[in-house]
């Protein structure tokens, strides 16, 4: 990695930050909130892209990792409630640290597993969330979940500063930081190792790369991102409950990175946008057609799932090499300068 790479990524980042900033002033509150949601999703899809696209590991458990981040933020934030704006930074950091630790544990197991076994294990992690929150009810308050005590935007921004704009700033600060760090990380040696392990484990081993360590690192990095994304989700929703992190969320995340184009961070951005835009689009659609409220509700909840599923299947079947070719062809794998 060279200084120039950092600079180049910064050069991408600053206009993006300016654009987001501008959008938060231009968009109505509801759209700004959606923009904030995209930012939170982006943290997760970017991390998952590194894991699945660059390292070839599948995870159906990222929804559970998000839940870990969200609950950690909620618990920390509630414990520190009312002491000022800085507590959000502390509780977000706590969320990332705790999720990273959980990710490390799962990653150690995952590094020894392949294909359907890995998928099955992470699936089990995903469905265990409600079980954990119910069993330790005194901490997590079961299905009801926790509300998150948050301070209003800093007074320095003005008394009438819209809360959605503040949320969007927070979530995009996290998202852009994640993108920046990941972009630098995958450009360097770590990224080369990830790809080497994905493409041919035996060859990577011969080249002196520790396959297990690389895989665990990939899992840890992507867990940290999921933790941050989960924390931001808690900030956006101002509450956490197991219902917000169903198995479907984990599947959605996977779909998003596959459809967005595995292996490129641009794809992760597309995936995050899709995760917000598609349900919104079906919402508008069901509003436009005149059906009974009950039918509209069914369509609204399920149409995005169906579209995601169909698109995913078509993408997978249309690509001759499946996932791997997505990861390889859609990413310009230039050598380091």
């Amino acid at each position: 990695m060279t200084g120039r790479t950092w600079l180049r990524h910064l050069a991408f980042l600053l206009p993006a930050a300016v654009a987001v900033l501008a959008l938060t002033y231009l968009l109505p509150p509801f759209r700004t909130y959606q923009l904030a949601t995209v930012g939170a999703y982006l943290c997760v899809t970017a991390g998952l892209t590194v894991l699945t696209g660059l390292n070839g590991q599948l995870s159906l458990g990222h929804g559970a990792l998000m839940a870990t981040g969200a609950y950690t933020l909620a618990l920390t934030q509630n414990a520190l409630a009312g002491r000022g704006q800085w507590t959000l930074l502390v509780s977000t950091a706590a969320a990332v640290v705790v999720t990273t630790a959980v990710g490390a544990v799962i990653g150690c197991a995952a590094a020894r597993l392949r294909g359907p076994y890995l998928a099955g294990l992470t699936l089990a992690v995903a469905v265990v969330v409600p079980s954990v929150t119910s069993t330790f009810e005194s901490v997590f308050n079961s299905d009801q979940g926790l509300s998150v005590a948050l301070d209003p935007p800093p007074l320095a921004l003005g008394a009438t500063f819209p809360y959605e704009r503040w949320q969007a700033w927070l979530s995009w600060a996290g998202a852009l930081l994640t993108l920046f760090l990941l972009a630098n990380l995958v450009r360097g040696r770590f990224g080369r190792n990830l790809r080497a392990v994905r493409d041919d484990e035996a060859a990577a081993r011969l080249a002196g790369i520790s396959v297990a360590r690389t895989q665990v690192s990939a899992f840890v990095v992507s867990a940290a991102c999921a933790g941050l994304g989960g924390a931001l989700f808690a900030v956006l929703a101002q509450s956490v409950s197991p219902g917000a992190f169903p198995l479907t969320l984990s599947l959605f995340l996977l779909m998003a990175v596959v459809i967005g184009g595995l292996g490129s961070l641009t794809g992760a951005v597309c995936g995050a946008v899709l995760l917000v835009a598609l349900p919104a689009a079906t919402h508008s659609l069901t509003d436009a057609v005149h059906v009974s409220p009950a039918v509209a509700q069914r369509l609204e909840g399920n149409l995005p799932l169906a579209v995601f599923g169909v698109v995913l299947i078509v993408v997978m079947l249309a690509l001759p090499g499946g996932l791997a070719s997505l990861g390889r062809t859609l990413r310009r794998e230039r050598p380091d300068p």
Binding site: A119, G120, G301, N302, L305, L312, M316, L317, G322
Partner: protein, 292 residues
Amino acid sequence: MERFLFLTFDGLSRGAVYAAFALALVLIWRAARIVNFAQGAMAVATAYAGYSVASATGSYWLGFAVAIVAGLLLGAAVERVVMRFVDHSSPLNGVVVALGLVLVIQAVLGMLYGNEYRPAAAPFSRSAFQVGGVALLSRFDLFVFAAVSAVVGLLGLLFTRTAVGLRMRAAAFAPDVSRLLGVPVAGMLTLGWALAAAVGSLAGLLVLPTELGLHPNAMDLVFVSSFTAAVVGGLDSAVGAVVGGLVVGLLLSFVSGYLGATVAPMAVLALLLVVLLGRPGGLFTRGRARAA
């Protein structure tokens, strides 16, 4: 002691269902080297079909038959239309496509039937007989045992005693050689999927009355438990799947009974983790890295 006996029988009854469902997973794994992550959703879909017919006609058994036949058809359709075209260079491809199917099936069910739980009828009483003052088994439990035993027995006969079974095994083990010997390999694969899906449907019909009822996501946890059962037995072993199913059923019953129902999924995760890390290859196959 009474409670222990009750939980044991309850566990065996649940385990029989997991065994059947795990067997369906093993069938497809052996035929196509794909773990059918969509099997739970497929089973729920056919259960809904049976439910519709049963409520329209008032006959549980007609609905039952429709669900099983729907399983056969859905399994064949999934193989013909989707799975056949999956690229097998990476085992992840099949998994991801199956997950896409899960989304589609659950979404369609949600649109057709809504996302509320609907009661799943049981054909026999679920209240347990008293044996010497101890509640042990219900008629429904006996039905579960009988149905699962029949399926296991029939599948065993099919694969070891019939020409079709021989063709199916040959097609799975050595596709090219089998084609040279005139075996319609693609057809055998479709048949394998159809059979597996029908067995999955049966398992769904047996398990849904004991859970919260019909719901598009109703089989998610059952899938995880049965996947664990299949892994405990080693994905390649039919006998292993049956034993694994009983092991998981007993574990879930004891954990639910003594520690609380909410702990059960964690116990399954723990068992899966222990088996995957401690005994790669399951308890019924010789040790091999889980690189498949």
